[in-house]
Amino acid sequence: MISPVLRTVKDTGASSTPKRLAIAVATAAALAALAAAALSGEPSTALRAFFVAPFSNASSILNMVELSAPLALCALGVIVTFRAGHYSLGGEGQAYAGSIAAAAAGYYGYAALGPGATLAAVVAGVLAGAAVAALPAMGRRFAGAEVLLTSILVSQGFIFVIDWAIGGPLRDRSGNLIAMPALETEALLARLEPPSTLTVAPFVVLILCVAASFYFERTRSGAAHDLYGRNPRFAELQGYDVERLSWAPVVASGMLHGLAGALMVLGAKGTAIRGMSGGIGWSAIGAALVAGSRPSAVPLAALLFAWLDSGARQAAVLSDLPPDAGMAIKALVILVVSSRPSWTAVKAFMRRTPTRRAK
């Protein structure tokens, strides 16, 4: 490893991200087993549904990977803002805006652009996410308004507007789903491995995560970004461009959320459906924190969430476990994963007498 010193050691004494993810998986397993035993009349089926079924065939594994992609993007967006010290809670509306814009561009653009509409849809999604993030970002930049506050307000406002647009002027009148017209298959991302829903999206996500990781750990702007997030005053006095840092991460996060929304449309969903963002903004915050705010851990954290979702669903499908049980297990796993028992402290407690001097 090269210049690891620059890696800012944030949580001294806490367990590392891989350890935390390992704990997460182990806990999920234990809780799922417990829930299955307590809530199901056929615990073995329930357990199999939770642990085996999601991995039973290539197609369901790949479905899981595909489902994790938008969540990972949103989590990445969350990290970009959180590491700049902004607490943006507007991811939900940004992703939703990305979806509707992508669906509109993909559907109406198809006549003019043909398969090129896919690209147009991606661009539209990204821009729409950025647009929803623009007011909080500009409010921060020019008025110093708290992003936490403005982002959630603006996002909620847009959710209503988009609900209206999907149910009203943009709705597909020929169907019963409250959704926009389905995009042509050629306008969607190609399925790489049918019948699974896998598209290129997870690979894009992987690349973005690596890039973000590189940005934070290895670039000057990334270091400045981090220092600003932890002590804006200090960053200002070091002569960093704090003006840009006060808004750009918020917009970048909006773009990532918008891209996530677009990928949902261009992947499994095929169009914009009313309410399709369904809590992804909040899950993403959970995933980002489980990943310890490290982009490199985001794909794994998102996969963990996708597995919990998928396992809970499979359990509901294959056994008599109610959907709420899956939800409850997911919540408990998130709780446990969020904990950071300090191993060094535990070890020191067991050892008590130090063996060597520090200096």
Binding site: V5, L6, R7, F214, R230
Partner: protein, 499 residues
Amino acid sequence: MQLATLTSIRKYYPSTNALAVDGADFSLERGEVHALVGENGAGKSTLAKILCGFESPDSGTVAIRGSPVSFSSHRDAEKAGIGFVPQYSMLAPGLSAADNVALGHEPRFLGVFSDRRRVAYDFSLLADRYGFSVNPDAIVSTLSASGRREVEILRALARGGGVLVLDEPTSILGERETEALFALIRRLKSAGAGIVYISHRAKEILDLADRISVMRAGRVERTIRPDDTDECGLADLIVRSSSCAAGTDSGSTPGKPGLTLRSVTLSRRGSDSLDGADLVVRKGEVVAVVALGGNGLDALEDVAAGVVGPDSGDVLVLGKDIHSYPPRILRSGVMAYIPTDREGRGLCAKASVALNAIAGRLRGYSFADFALGRAPLADADALLASFDVKNGGRRRVDTLSGGNRQRVVAARELDGPADVVVAANPTQGLDRSSRAALLSRLAEMRDEGSAVLLLSSDPEDASELADRSFVLYRGRLKALSGPGSDDSAIAAALTGVEP
């Protein structure tokens, strides 16, 4: 009878893998001031915290008045009569001074509600008794650094007792507050109290202490009487290698103005205001401004470093308005700045030591260098070595001892050439030898042509280094005649006494 006895105390911090205290023995008698000295990171604060119930030792015993105790919190220690003035502020900044002192012992009415009037009244009584003049309703964050320290001292005294532990109480106190504190300590002492006094200032210690214990690497190496040594001898004891460095004289002659303040006024900051300040710092000279807390020193620092714009007047750097410089340009080679507020402005507490050290020169690396090269790492090591910060850069900076944190700031800021240096209380928390190193580095920069503005509440800094000195009293600057004005002249000016 011994008031407090600490025997074979050990304390290990696993997070930094530091054995802070390594078998230290320490005792305190009735009616004595027992000074604790040692270089930065020697374990003084940790030992004090253990005595005060803040940290529990891994092994060893603490005995109060002969009977062994095991404090689980500071409250236990308080009940045993131990008051503590910590090295870093442990006040709630948004609460009033009186609320801070009453915290945990709030008087009530009807059994549930806080009795606001009593809180303020009790505080005033306390302040009067010990001769402090802090407004009970003042919000702590609006107080000057020395005002905050006074509140902290009052808090330690409020629950009165036989033992008072003071961890570098004077590092940011001015002359007058220091005198008042010493008078107080003598009074307490004659009433039979025992006082543990941690400080890096040899003169104070010799004045005040009955016994002096020298700590090194977590152990109390020896305990002596003040009569057995002098200032230089004490310094030698603390740091084996160091010699007693004297002040440095300027070799060069002043050049063009580096930093200019023209009738700068900054008001609406309570007692911390500036009133028509005029000041020119030329390249190649050190100008010192000394003030007691709350006389505008913080305001002067903010204005000179460009943190806030003045209400009226101009601040010029190399003849151009300070705000006409883009921040990036200003901070790369034009102005170096050591702030008083070390944790808030000087460091990013949650980042690594290394990143803190090279934070100012990120732009200096090429993309590839920073991403892949070894230069940043090597630079960080070199910088830290220049101020003798040991123990690597990977740990978080807020696990360093106070003095070592200050060294990180100094290492970063005083590294390259700079046209202007604004150094505010740069020696706070530094031990004798690193203080000398810092002052000589400032002198060196002056000789290389920097304009150095030294803002300090410690007249000693000024008299050692400054070519010209000013005193700031109630927001007005007043020049002192010539370098090395004698201490009594400064003291008189500081308190507004006209000669």
